[in-house]
């Protein structure tokens, strides 16, 4: 057209203040939440909450939830839900336990097998959702019960009547892969820091914090990788597009079905990772593992800015959402409050987050 060259400013566009720009980031709510919760506990909680030991203390449950929440967030951005992740933790925990204890497999075989197994269940979930066109809410709600039930039945079959399978620690203790999935990393560094008086020690001279629990490292790595994939790869664009409008995306050549099934598989694998880490940590697996985690993971993702309708959200948001969780769950024990306030907090936080996200979406799309 004719008026190509000059980049004249459009007189109808108001310049945006920095704050408005910031308001448009999906993860803003969760970051603000972290700061608020931090201030709250800085005032009310015992000072030991924010020592190195205290931080590790609340980061560990945050990480276990966060690994699930990041998977859930990607799936939600892709426009689907998975209510079966909590049960999936128990189910893949059972599978992993049977591999290690009953079949005596080394971790090098058991871990990949668990992931493949979880991915297959995720693929079944995804394919039913895609092929039937049913809401993923219903399909995965069915799997919430199916997988939990199978875990119970399977555990009884594997143990001869008990709902707990023990002996994982004995079977994995000396495996060379174990340090990647259990215990603490960077033990040497922490001992060195302790020896040089840089961190708190017990009277014996051993550091109070022997290292960084491995799940925290997995959690951080997963958040970084997920953010990179979302923002800087074609696959990320496909995830946003599939969740934003599946017809528009598929008309533009995005392989929507493949994207969605892969996301279901990824969420299931996140559940398997949490299962492997927590089972090795506890030394046993039981049928209640991951109970209600699906809701907590989705809440963390929503606090992190994911829209329930898909197409919008961030992995970093889910990262901070999970940290809020960990801080509150553990933080309440450092205060004089009754621990059961946690549930009240959970619901309130979800409600505020959804209201907040709605307002943000209107801003982004300029809805009138």
């Amino acid at each position: 057209m004719s008026q190509s060259a000059p980049v004249a400013a459009d007189e109808r566009v108001k310049s945006e203040p920095f704050l408005t720009k910031l308001m448009k980031r999906p993860e803003l709510g969760a970051m603000a939440g972290v700061i608020l919760v931090f201030i709250f506990f800085a005032i009310t909680a015992d000072a030991s909450m924010f020592t190195l030991a205290g931080v590790m203390n609340f980061m560990t449950p945050a990480a276990q939830l966060g690994i699930l929440a990041i998977g859930a967030a990607l799936l939600m951005i892709g426009g689907e839900f998975d209510l079966s992740i909590g049960s999936m933790v128990a189910f893949s925990g059972l599978f992993f336990g049977v591999c290690v204890v009953t079949w005596q497999l080394p971790l090098m075989a058991a871990i990949p097998m668990t992931f493949v197994f979880a991915a297959m269940v995720g693929a079944v979930n995804g394919n039913i959702v895609i092929r039937s066109g049913l809401p993923s809410f219903i399909v995965t709600l069915a799997f919430l019960f199916i997988l939990r039930g199978l875990s119970l039945v399977g555990l009884k079959m594997a143990t001869g009547g008990s709902t707990q399978l023990r002996g994982v620690r004995d079977a994995t203790e000396n495996d060379w892969l174990a340090p990647f999935f259990a215990g603490e990393a960077f033990g040497g560094l922490f001992s060195w820091l302790a020896a040089n008086g840089l961190i708190d020690t017990f009277k014996s001279g051993a550091p109070k914090v022997p290292g960084i629990p491995v799940e925290i490292l997995w959690f951080i790595a997963l958040a970084l990788v997920a953010t990179y994939v979302l923002l800087r790869t074609p696959a990320g664009n496909w995830i946003f597009a599939s969740g934003g409008d599946r017809i528009a995306a598929s008309n533009s050549g995005v392989p929507v079905n493949r994207v969605k099934v892969s996301l279901f598989m990824l969420t299931a694998c996140c559940a398997a990772l949490v299962a492997i880490i927590t089972v090795m940590d506890a030394g046993s697996t039981d049928a209640r593992r991951g109970f209600q985690k699906e809701f907590e993971a989705i809440i963390a993702a929503v606090i992190g800015g994911c829209l329930l309708t898909g197409g919008y959200g961030s992995a970093i948001g889910a990262f901070f959402g999970s940290i809020i969780f960990g801080m509150v769950v553990i933080g309440l024990t450092y205060t004089d409050f009754d621990q059961d306030w946690f549930q009240v907090f959970l619901g309130a936080m979800l409600l505020i987050a959804v209201l907040f996200n709605n307002a943000i979406r209107k801003r982004v799309t300029g809805e009138r």
Partner: protein, 272 residues
């Protein structure tokens, strides 16, 4: 044709058609949406597909762009028989469609929409990534060429007006080297000025040798840029006319199914 327009009209009639569709039928269950439609597009022409609501225009172009598979009939692309399994196949062959619903995602930025499904990448193997800088640059540049100044490449499509969204969609198709550009009622929701912008864009695209399929139910818009006109009615072709062989009134009558329209028009004093 009595009124002439400012657009140059190509004499592309001798060239071999890029796409030729013969006796296409499409059934949805017991509904016969298309009952034998033949249509072809030559390079550098604008072939208008006209028809009233429910005539089968949208079904037909969805067949052309690989969304639907024809129940019967043949499609030839550059002389060879071909069938598309997915829209992606059609797109890779060079058939780009700007759908009525625009295939745009309001929550996503203009750049992300522009490159949706065809993201430029850099790096290799595991480091292969979405080249955001190039994408932003290209997107801003293409939009500027179309006369739209974006606030920034990260502006969400939801904040654009209907005409601007249309332009993004056309610019996207042209940028990706379409040989055939299918526009599904691109002017139906636009204001006067934005309509003439879109028509001018069609003219520009045609002069680059792209075959344009312009679907409309507005005779005036079609006559402004069209080289040939095919009218669809109740799933069938009522014939194809070249520019100059047909008057607006005749086209209007064909589209509406003739008789009743003449009566209606009489009662409205010839204003339709």
């Amino acid at each position: 044709m009595t009124e002439d327009t400012k657009f140059h009209h190509g004499d592309a009639t001798d060239a071999a058609p890029i796409v030729e569709m013969k006796n296409i039928e499409k059934h949805f269950g017991n509904i016969i949406a298309l009952a034998g439609v033949s249509f072809d597009v030559k390079p550098g022409e604008c072939h208008c597909l006209l028809g009233d609501n429910g005539a089968g225009k949208s079904t037909f172009i969805k067949t052309m762009s690989g969304v639907h598979k024809p129940t019967k009939g043949e499609i030839f692309f550059e002389g060879k028989p071909l069938h598309f399994d997915t829209p992606r196949d059609a797109m890779e062959a060079g058939i780009a469609t700007v759908f009525q619903d625009l295939a745009m995602i309001p929550l996503m930025s203009v750049t992300r929409n522009f490159f949706m499904g065809r993201e430029p990448t850099k790096g290799k193997g595991l480091l292969k990534r979405f080249d955001v800088d190039t994408a932003n640059e290209v997107c801003m540049e293409e939009m500027r060429n179309m006369g739209i100044n974006l606030r920034g490449p990260d502006q969400a499509v939801g904040t654009l007006s209907g005409g601007e969204r249309q332009t993004v969609a056309i610019a996207r198709a042209v940028y990706f080297g379409a040989k055939i550009l299918i526009l599904d009622e691109p002017t139906s929701a636009l204001g006067v000025r934005q309509t003439s912008n879109v028509l001018a864009t069609i003219d520009k695209v045609r002069s680059q040798g792209v075959g344009v399929v312009f679907i409309s139910h507005n005779v005036r818009h079609a006559l402004a840029v069209g080289d040939r006109f095919t009218v669809l009615n109740r799933g069938k072709t009522l014939g194809t006319a070249k520019r100059g062989e047909i008057t607006p009134e005749q086209l209007q009558d064909l589209m509406a199914g003739g008789q009743e329209m003449a009566e209606l028009e009489g009662s409205l004093g010839g204003t339709v």
